[in-house]
């Protein structure tokens, strides 16, 4: 009955693994020097948190990070060795600066040597169950080398949780397949229009989807590509809330101001959210008032939270302006509608009655 524990080392391995899973890769590896027991603890924990801000100074962080990440991944490469189950990557701004600022014009090849994709192509990551990638502060430069290529993920077969923040997701040749993926989170991400549906279709076990400030970009024509190089910042101001999704396995859906990038003129005729998610149990929407179309019945829906006051509410202030466009006058006062009954809640919701078929 060891109720009183006076030293960390008297804790069981399992708990120490948990502790080490909260440390940065460097600290986890450094802990291996503590004693013979600690030598393998961080490897058994199977978690690497790679944060570019923890490597080198701003000037040499790129090389220091490449060295560090490489060394941290090395022990997990062997077939019979320890298994890497979770990786979190934080790509700081300073670490990308030198590499990519000159490359903006080569739209298709600029991320060939992107660090994140290099890590995700490493054999050490072939058995990941959980992956978190966060590009610091990057969303204005979706075509400037901060894209994740889902089709090339080594860990697609084992992945259960995928979380991407502030990056582009690039559709590229190669099939998608995420047989075990159950939770997908996208924050401040840009996807080609229709690609999210492709990803969801490739994830037959997906039960939880959280989308915050995700934009679906129409695949540009050649002339648009040319134009965009000159002034795509202008184009990005025209966001529209159009979003459609079909997913029979989904039980939890959180949408925060999801929109499609569109030209302003097309705005009015093009807004709305269409959902075909028959097994949904919990639905949360936060953003501007939009038309909602649901395929009924949804017999398991037990919880609906809707805040259509028009603000994403969390996320960074400077992105909020992205969601205000011409027709602001119909934006009502803040209305929070948490109701247990789906039908009641949707009747309360201003625009819902128009499209919902009860």
């Amino acid at each position: 009955m060891a109720a009183f524990v006076d030293r960390l080392s008297s804790l069981p391995d399992e708990i120490l693994h948990h502790v080490l899973s909260h440390t940065q890769a460097k600290e986890a590896a450094a802990s291996s020097v503590l004693s013979r027991r600690w030598r393998t603890l961080w490897l058994q924990a199977g978690v690497l948190n790679l944060d570019t801000r923890r490597f080198g100074t701003a000037d040499d962080s790129y090389d220091a990070f490449v060295r560090g990440a490489n060394a941290a991944l090395a022990p997990f490469r062997g077939a019979g060795g320890p298994v890497l189950r979770r990786v979190t990557i934080f790509m700081g701004r300073s670490c990308r600066r030198n590499r990519y600022s000159y490359n903006n014009d080569s739209d298709d090849d600029d991320d060939r040597d992107d660090l994140v994709n290099a890590i995700l192509a490493d054999p050490a990551t072939a058995r990941l169950e959980e992956l978190h990638v966060d590009y610091e502060d990057n969303m204005m430069f979706s075509n400037a080398g901060s894209t994740v290529r889902l089709a090339f993920l080594r860990c697609a077969a084992t992945l259960r949780t995928l979380e991407l923040s502030n990056c582009g997701v690039k559709a590229c040749g190669g099939g998608l397949g995420f047989p075990r993926l159950s939770s997908l989170v996208l924050r401040n991400c840009v996807l080609p229009e229709g690609y999210l549906q492709d990803v969801v279709d490739a994830a037959p076990a997906l039960s939880s989807l959280r989308l915050q400030d995700v934009r679906h970009e129409p695949v540009p024509t050649e002339t648009e590509k040319e134009e965009r190089k000159k002034r795509y910042c202008w184009e990005r101001k025209c966001y529209l809330l159009r979003f459609g999704l079909r997913c029979p396995t989904l039980t939890e859906l959180v949408l925060v101001a999801c929109g499609t990038v569109r030209k302003k003129e097309a705005a009015l005729s093009y807004s709305g959210i269409e959902l075909d998610v028959p097994n949904l149990q919990s639905f949360s929407y936060r953003g501007r008032s939009v038309r909602l179309a649901l395929t009924l019945p949804m017999p398991n829906l037990a919880r609906v939270d809707i805040d259509d006051s028009g603000r994403s509410g969390y996320g960074r202030d400077r992105y909020r302006c992205s969601y205000s466009y011409g027709d602001d006058e119909d934006r009502g006062p803040k209305k929070l509608v948490p109701l247990s009954s789906m039908i009641e809640s949707f009747r309360c919701w201003r625009y819902a009655q128009e499209t919902i078929r009860i």
Partner: protein
């Protein structure tokens, strides 16, 4: 065995359960708070812990248990809200402030706490304490970590081994 007494058995919100620490102190808490523990949840769902019975926790002493329950009571409303995607910023900030203060405690209490959180399977508390302990390692040299974590000073032999190991793991000490 645990036959719920009439009235307080399946009565939702205000239902109380009794937990008994290793040194036989009895704690009465709301079932919702105790249910943050995955281990206790099933017992409580089955109607256990009510009335005079109580749930014995032979691995948790009273000092630790009262600390654990302090956490559970604070976090129970948010947990009942299902992760609360729409929780207000104020609520979240308040919980964060509570959490920060909560783990600002003696190391030995911290270790008992993480052990208890582990045994009782209270996910949030496990992560909270694990993060705190991880922070204690942050940015320290191996010798400092050894001292912080209460390792005895290394023998010359161990020291030599450490030095060799540090060479091998040079990148981690850059």
């Amino acid at each position: 065995m645990a036959a719920p007494e009439s009235g307080d058995g399946n009565n939702g919100a205000a239902r109380m359960v009794t937990l008994i620490s290793s040194d036989n102190t009895r704690f009465e808490v709301e079932a919702a708070a105790a249910s943050l523990s995955q281990t206790l949840q099933l017992t409580i769902l089955d109607g256990g812990g009510g009335g005079g019975d109580g749930i014995p926790l032979p691995n948790v002493d009273s000092a630790t248990l009262s600390k654990v329950l302090e956490y559970c009571i604070k976090h129970a409303p948010a947990a009942a809200n299902g992760g609360a995607p729409n929780a207000t910023a104020v609520d979240r900030a308040e919980l964060e402030r509570f959490d920060n203060e909560f783990v600002n405690i003696d190391q030995s209490v911290l270790y008992s706490l993480i052990m208890a959180a582990h045994n009782l399977e209270i996910e949030g508390l496990q992560s909270l304490v694990a993060k705190k302990v991880a922070d204690m390692i942050k940015g320290k040299s191996p010798m400092e970590i050894r001292r912080t974590l209460g390792f005895p000073d290394p023998t010359p032999e161990e020291q030599a081994e450490m030095n060799a190991h540090m060479l091998e793991y040079g990148w981690a000490y850059e």
